[in-house]
Structures are given as structure tokens and as C-alpha cells.
Symmetry: C2
Subunit: 315 residues, 2 copies
């Protein structure tokens, strides 16, 4: 029995629908020509807070009992989950405590503040972040919402694939990037249930291939320290996500840093969409002709669009 | 009697519908907060060839008789119209001769070549461009399709507003930028017919305000040489476009270069859409609180997304 089932994803889809965008699916003839496949782009970069993370955070917050909700939610994150949880808490009218490292990008800090999150700064180490979050939980009794390994978060991230396959029921393959594995696990659960024969392909930077190593070997490994431009994928595969990927993936492609940057720029140029480097990872797999997707109708989840416009990776 | 009527726009809408995208209308809560209005973005940056120009070019090419079509089409352009006319000619299976200045950006030249346009290079002066195009017309008998003052082009550009007001029938105002005036004229004709009471607002860079001067004074003037980051708007208002703007506009706002760059970046950040500087001009008017659009439901036509990603204006 996997830690998240399709029923969980279906419940999440009903729960989050009033609060998140049903994002558009876009296409580009020129992108198809270059990638050698018929590409459908699910634009989670156009999601609220600019990333799919709004889905999992809303599901986790909306699934709380009233009693739990009254005590608020807590997380530690320097990325999109921090903004997503702040937004979801505001949706329910409850408190969100966000532990952020002192070196978090200013734009991310401002985004959390704008959305009403209560920020606690800490030293930029995992140990300091976890200790600060634990201290808040001990004092408020709030619920810790893990950025990617919480089962409600995994189920919530799967709602993008539910919408995707509702709009494009005849995809041959579906692909997304893996960081902590929440999106990929939720996607795999939804896609395997809705389209049992669909090819499900995970993608990851070679320079942050802990999930690929864990998936290949069958046992959890943190791998080498990640060193990738895809800042959203520097996390380590979660213990709930891994068994789901082991059970449901057809293939797992890793890609070079050069391909990620090339794919990111290619998407900007051909589709006029701002995507962050993490979003470009499955496109890079198509560029590298990995994952067995050539000539197929391929659904790609573009995960987010939160980039520093002063520091683009091709400059 | 204006040189283009709503019947022309309606005919264009039927003609181009199978060949151009019905582009999405997107929104952003944060953009609304900053601009102080309820903004609807018609995403012509997601149009084929990355700009609304695909509409006018298709209408002009598809309106040719078979006899005219057999002799091909001709234009001179260093911008989006060159790619648009190449694409439209390919759609009909006819020849397109494109005169381009030797200093045209390489990406634009490659785009025309990829779409099958026959390129003739010339010196980078208007006189040389017109002479080269005239020579081709004399030799092939092809039809010259002017980038913005051709009545079929004006009618074709108006089809974006037809779709826009079909999807968002209760807009209070609609706004677009003015370069040669083809889009603004077509938009005004469509909007005034479909929503007689809608507020129609033209926008232009202060540093390229020939259309504003002509509109204000009532007589055509080329103004000072344009000097704006909005490269799509460096053209001069057309003789067919001007009387349409004089007859139908409610207001005409000009904006600073600083506002254009700020608005462009704001749209990238809040909507995750790549827009070119010209697209940012109506957004800049909203930033500057010009045009009488505060607190209203405002439709903005985002005209295109073809930018040089190596040279962004805020860098």
C-alpha cells in the first residue's frame, strides 16, 4: 500500500479547485520541431504564487480540522513552499509561521511577508531551520507542513495531472522534475490511475541526482551535495515519495546543466513563458532525447516561473 | 466614412480564425493591486510568430484573389510583420518577398528564413527599403502588403479585440499601444461597434509621440525622430489609421521610458509572461495613472513577446 492513493488526489482536487488556478495548457510548433515530439505544456508557472506549490499547500491547510487550523501552520522553506503556505493559510484565515534562512533571496522574503506569513529568521543550516520550526510548533501547537513529503502535499501536487489529463486525455507520456519528489509522486499516482498505459517519466539534474540514485538502487540515498542551476531541485527525495516513484515510474532521465540552461532559454523564446530552471529539466530530457518520449504526445508540467530577472543563467 | 469598417473586421475574424491562435486572457491579483484597476491581459505575445501581426498578415494574404495570390506578396520590415507575412504566405502556399535592412537583428532574419520568406537585403534607410520593395513588385507583379496602413491589415489586427470582447464582454475600457496605428485602429473599430460605451485609450511612448501629436492637432505629423526602448513603436502613424483614431478614441496617454521598462519587468514578474517593450506601454500608462482607467475593468492587449534575451532593458 503506497502512502498516498488516487482517492487522496481526487479529494485534494475537490478541495483546492476553488482556490487555485486551473492553469492553461499551451503548445508551440517550433518547440515541437526542435524536441521531436508533440509537446503539451501545463503552465504551473501561471499558478498562484507562480508555482505548483500552491496546490499542495492549499490541500494540507484545507484538510486540517478546525481545532488544528486554529493553532496555525508552520514550515521552514526558502522557496516557493513558503509563499504557498502563507497564501493557503490566508485563504483559511489562519496563522502561518515560516522559518527562513538569513540568506534567503529578498524577493522570497518579501513575497512571504506580502502574503501575511509570520517570518522567523534563522542561520542557513538545515539543523537551525528544523530547530526553529520545532520550537514554534512546541510553543503554538501548530501543524508542521513539510514542503514535499507530507502526504496531503503529495496528493495536492497530483491535482495538476488530474486537470492535465482531463484536458488532454490522449497523452502518450507525462513528465515532470524531481526535487523532493512531491510533484512527481502526486503526478505518477494521478496519471497511472487515469491513464493506466501512459508512460511516466521523472527527470532530474545530473548534479542533484539523489532521487535517481535512490530509485535505481532501491534504497534511499542523499547522494552528493547538489550543485545545480535548478534551485528548486536541490532538496533530497522524500521517504514517502520514493516508494511511489519506485512503484509507478516507467523511466527516469538525468540531464546536464548545459541542457537545462538551453532548455530554459528555448522555452522562453518559443513560448514566451517565464519559467524557472527547475521547469526546464523535463524539457532538457527531451532535448537530450532521453526518457523514450520521441515522436510521442508528451505532457510536460512547467513547475514554476519565479526567477531572479537580474541574474539569468545564460548571462 | 472611415477607411475600415466593422464589417471588414468581422470578415477578417472569419478569415483568420482557422490560422491564428485564439489567445488566452490572463489575470494577476498582484498586478491589479499595483495598477489600481481590474486588468485583463489579451496575450498576443502567445500568438503565432509571437505577436498580433499574424492576424493582419493572414487577413491580407487570404483576401487576395487567386490571380493576385499567384504573384506573391512583398513587404519591407525588420520586425514582426516580416515573420507574419512569411507565415501567412506559407499558409496559402505562395511566395513572400521580404526586404530587410542589413542591420536587422539576426534572430529576425533567421525567423523569416525559417518561415520560408525570400529575403532581399538592403541599406538601412527607408528610401532604400521602399526602392527595393518597389523593384520586386515591378518584377514579380506581387502585392505590396504595408505593415500597418493596409486596410486589410488594420481589419485583421482588429480581430484580437473581437475575441477579447467576446470573452470579456463587460470591460469598461480597452487599451493598446500605437506604432503605425494598425492595431489601435482595428481595436477601436471593433470595440466601438461591439461595446459602444467602452472607453478606448491609445498609448504611446513620449519619445515616439508622432501619433499623439497628430491625434491632438488633427493633422498628420512625423514628430521628432523616435528614441524609445519600445522598438515596435518607432514607426510613424499611418494615413489610414489616423482618421480612425481621431474618430473613435476617448483618450490618448503618452508615457516615459522609465515607466515602460518598469511596466515590462512588472508584467514579467507578476504574470510570468515574456512581453516585448512595446507591450508594456499601455501597462506603463496604468502605472502612471493616465488614461482615466483607475478602478475600472481594463482590457490590455499585450502585443508581442519577441525580445532579445541577451539584452534586457533593465540590465
Amino acid at each position: 500500500m503506497l502512502p498516498v492513493t488516487f482517492n487522496d488526489v481526487a479529494a485534494a482536487a475537490r478541495r483546492v479547485a476553488p482556490h487555485v488556478h486551473r492553469t492553461p495548457v499551451l503548445r508551440s510548433r517550433r518547440l515541437n520541431d526542435i524536441l521531436g515530439a508533440d509537446i503539451f505544456l501545463k503552465c504551473e508557472n501561471l499558478q498562484r504564487i507562480g508555482a505548483f506549490k500552491a496546490r499542495g499547500a492549499h490541500n494540507a491547510v484545507l484538510a486540517l480540522t478546525d481545532e488544528q487550523a486554529a493553532r496555525g501552520v508552520v514550515t521552514h522553506s526558502s522557496g516557493n513552499h513558503a509563499a504557498a503556505l502563507s497564501l493557503a493559510a490566508a485563504t483559511r484565515g489562519i496563522r502561518a509561521d515560516i522559518v527562513m534562512p538569513e540568506n534567503a533571496p529578498r524577493a522570497k522574503v518579501e513575497s512571504v511577508r506580502r502574503l501575511g506569513g509570520q517570518i522567523t529568521m534563522c542561520e542557513p543550516t538545515i539543523a537551525a531551520r528544523e530547530a526553529a520550526a520545532a520550537a514554534i510548533v512546541a510553543s503554538t501547537g501548530g501543524t508542521l507542513v513539510h514542503p514535499y513529503d507530507d502526504p496531503h502535499v503529495i496528493a495536492g501536487q497530483g491535482t495538476a495531472a488530474v486537470e492535465f489529463l482531463d484536458e488532454c486525455p490522449d497523452l502518450d507520456a507525462i513528465t515532470a522534475p524531481v526535487g523532493g519528489g512531491g510533484l512527481m509522486a502526486g503526478t505518477a499516482i494521478a496519471a497511472r490511475h487515469i491513464c493506466p498505459s501512459i508512460r511516466i517519466v521523472a527527470t532530474e539534474p545530473e548534479q542533484a541526482d539523489d532521487a535517481w540514485r535512490s530509485w535505481s538502487s532501491g534504497s534511499w540515498t542523499a547522494g552528493d551535495p547538489p550543485n545545480t542551476v535548478a534551485d528548486g531541485l536541490r532538496t533530497t527525495i522524500g521517504h514517502n515519495g520514493l516508494p511511489i516513484l519506485r512503484a509507478l515510474l516507467d523511466d527516469f532521465a538525468t540531464v546536464s546543466e548545459a541542457s537545462i540552461v538551453e532548455a530554459m532559454r528555448l522555452v522562453w523564446e518559443t513560448t514566451k513563458l517565464v519559467i524557472e530552471p527547475s521547469s526546464a529539466v523535463p524539457v532538457a530530457a527531451l532535448l537530450e532525447r532521453k526518457g523514450g518520449m520521441q515522436g510521442k504526445r508528451v505532457g510536460v508540467i512547467l513547475t514554476g516561473g519565479n526567477v531572479d530577472l537580474d541574474k539569468l543563467p545564460w548571462q
